[in-house]
């Protein structure tokens, strides 16, 4: 295991980075005619946006979409993945179809969904659902199929029924794989929602960024990017934490 670096030291490079940024912007060291706000201005803008509620409203809109879409997509992915991993015939039937859909990038569905779903609240949720469903499904199938068949046989000789084996042996042993899927896609959901909002939806962080762009408000764009980075990171860390908690004792 990695030795834990003292938390203070981890922040040092960030502090240095921010200081350099501040200096570069203050003394106009950026070449050309680009407008580049210093960090302090961005912080100030963050305060204004929060105080006025603009940032909060748009952030909440994005957050709710991500949560609904991601939870629904993950639950569906785990459910279908479990069936595919456990029932050989289901896997044989669905695998070819899934293999075709899996490589399509989530945003590739956008034009189609814009016509089918329409420009409304359901659109970003549908996109997030799709972007979560396939990778989680894939990881779940892999996790369940990778469980050593011998464990299943042991459980069987100990008198366990198939349903019991699935819930008490196979699912727990597949957890690390399932969590890998969840963790990677928790961050991915944020990347996808921003893109969707930028193109098609008038609310949310992505939309806010587009509006800021048309008004040449670079400070607002940077505020949004920072919020985005923090959320991606927070979601991934959360699932990493859950995974460690659930498997640390035996993993």
């Amino acid at each position: 295991m990695l030795k834990k670096i003292r938390p203070g030291w981890g922040l040092l490079p960030i502090a240095v980075f921010l200081a350099v940024w501040e200096l570069v912007a203050r003394f106009n060291l950026v070449p050309g005619q680009l407008s580049f706000p210093p960090f302090s201005v961005v912080v100030l803008e963050f305060y204004h946006l929060t105080a006025s509620g603009v940032l909060g409203d748009n952030f909440l809109a994005s957050l709710i979409r991500v949560l609904i879409g991601f939870c629904a997509g993950s639950i569906a992915g785990i459910a279908v993945g479990t069936v595919m991993g456990w029932v050989e015939n289901a896997n044989k039937t669905l695998h070819p179809i899934i293999s075709l859909f899996y490589p399509i990038p989530a945003l590739g569905w956008l034009p189609l969904l814009m016509l089918w779903v329409g420009i409304n609240e359901a659109l970003p949720i549908a996109i997030i659902f799709i972007s979560s469903f396939f990778p989680v499904l894939y990881n779940t199938v892999t996790g369940i199929r990778n469980v050593d068949k011998d464990y299943i046989q042991v459980a069987r000789t100990l008198g366990a029924s198939d349903a019991r084996i699935l819930t008490t042996v196979v699912m727990p042993l597949a957890l690390p794989n399932i969590f890998t899927g969840l963790r990677l896609n928790a961050g991915m959901a944020w990347r996808v929602i921003i893109a969707a909002e930028m193109v098609a939806i008038p609310t949310g962080i992505g939309a806010l960024m587009m509006r800021a762009s048309s008004l040449i408000r670079i400070d607002i764009i940077i505020v949004c990017l920072i919020v985005l980075a923090v959320m991606c990171l927070a979601f991934e860390r959360f699932f990493q934490y859950l995974e460690t908690r659930m498997t640390a004792k035996w993993g």
Binding site: V154, A155, R156, L158, S161, L173, K249, W250
Partner: protein, 332 residues
């Protein structure tokens, strides 16, 4: 019952068939009742797998309780039974550990406790000691045997190790390429191998009938085999047969120094190199013997057919068979 045979003989397959884990034709009977229709989870077989396969996500107590939970016993019943097994296996202190924090021997005990927990009708042990270091394996072997006798549970023990088989078995079933070659008491497998395959597997020992035997006191006995007076370690009544492995015969070209015990003149009758040893046919008195010696020793000597040599039998390695019954093997 011990299932004995080389790798790939079908030992594990038989265990899997008994447990109902493999498809098969034919019939498996438990106490005369066919269980073929029963799936593996209803056969009540305790199966200790070669790789143990403790559930890594469950602690020791939960591993042992797994079969009891599957039987839907009440929590109190389960707790009592788990405690009892932990005590029986002397692993009470490990109850809340996870398998990754157990030593090989400890894992072994947990796996056995888990297999025994639901009180199975039949216990299958598939090379249970093969993954352990030798001292631990020896210790556990003794314990396993005692435990098995105490519980009185029908047990099939799979191994490729002859010595282990002899130690554990009431009866040995020798398997070779999927065929059951002999089912017998351990000493009869050794002294009356039914055919060449069995004999080869147990090391192709030289087996000699004894014409007479005479106790010399102090645990040694002189037996006469085809004109050779052979001293054997034995303290019983009479000796009917003796056996020793080819590698337990020493060959010397010159008259060896030391006391004249179990040393005989012999003629070389054949020389046949094999993968591991050079097999040398010898005739001493009326007796044809087969000796095996490592290649490098053979190359240092100038042995050839017809040459007269001296041979020494390692006294401690000679095995004796007391029973005077005829060439009849137990029916299975």
């Amino acid at each position: 019952m011990v299932l004995l045979g080389p790798n790939g003989a079908g030992k594990t397959t038989i265990a899997n068939i008994i447990a109902g884990l493999t498809d098969y034709r034919g019939s498996v009977l438990f106490d005369g009742v066919a269980v073929d229709k029963l799936p593996a989870n209803r056969r009540e077989v305790g199966y200790l797998f070669q790789d143990l396969l403790l559930f890594p996500h469950l602690d020791v107590a939960a591993n042992i309780a797994y079969g009891l939970n599957a039987k839907k016993q009440s929590p109190q019943q389960i707790e009592t039974r788990v405690k009892q097994l932990l005590q029986m296996m002397k692993i009470e202190h490990l109850a809340s550990r996870y398998p990754k924090n157990l030593s090989g021997g400890e894992k072994q005990r947990v796996a056995l406790a888990r297999a025994l927990a639901p009180s199975p009708k039949v216990l299958l042990l598939d090379e249970p000691l093969s993954s352990l270091d030798v001292p631990t394996a020896k210790y556990l072997r003794t314990e396993l045997k005692q435990l098995q006798q105490r519980l009185g549970i029908t047990t099939a023990y799979v191994t490729h190790d002859l010595q282990e088989a002899e130690e554990m078995a009431d009866r040995i079933a020798v398997l070779q390429s999927g065929c059951l070659e002999q089912v017998d008491r351990p000493e009869r497998v050794f002294f009356y191998p039914r055919n060449e395959k069995v004999s080869d597997f147990i090391g192709a020992p030289n087996i000699l009938d004894c014409d007479y035997c005479r106790s010399l006191g102090k645990g040694v006995m002189e037996v006469g085999c085809g004109g050779l007076p052979i001293i054997v370690p034995h303290d019983g009544e009479s000796v009917h047969r003796i056996a020793f492995l080819p590698t337990d015969i020493h060959i010397s070209e010159t008259h060896p120094p030391g006391p004249e015990v179990n040393r005989f003149k012999a003629h070389v009758t054949s020389i046949k190199p094999t993968d591991e040893t050079v097999k040398i046919g010898l005739k001493a008195g009326e007796v044809n013997l087969l000796a095996g010696m490592p290649h490098h020793i053979f190359e240092d000597m100038s042995l050839e057919t017809g040459k007269e040599v001296f041979l020494i039998l390692k006294l401690r390695r000679i095995r004796v068979y007391e029973d005077k019954e005829n060439r009849r093997s137990d029916s299975n």
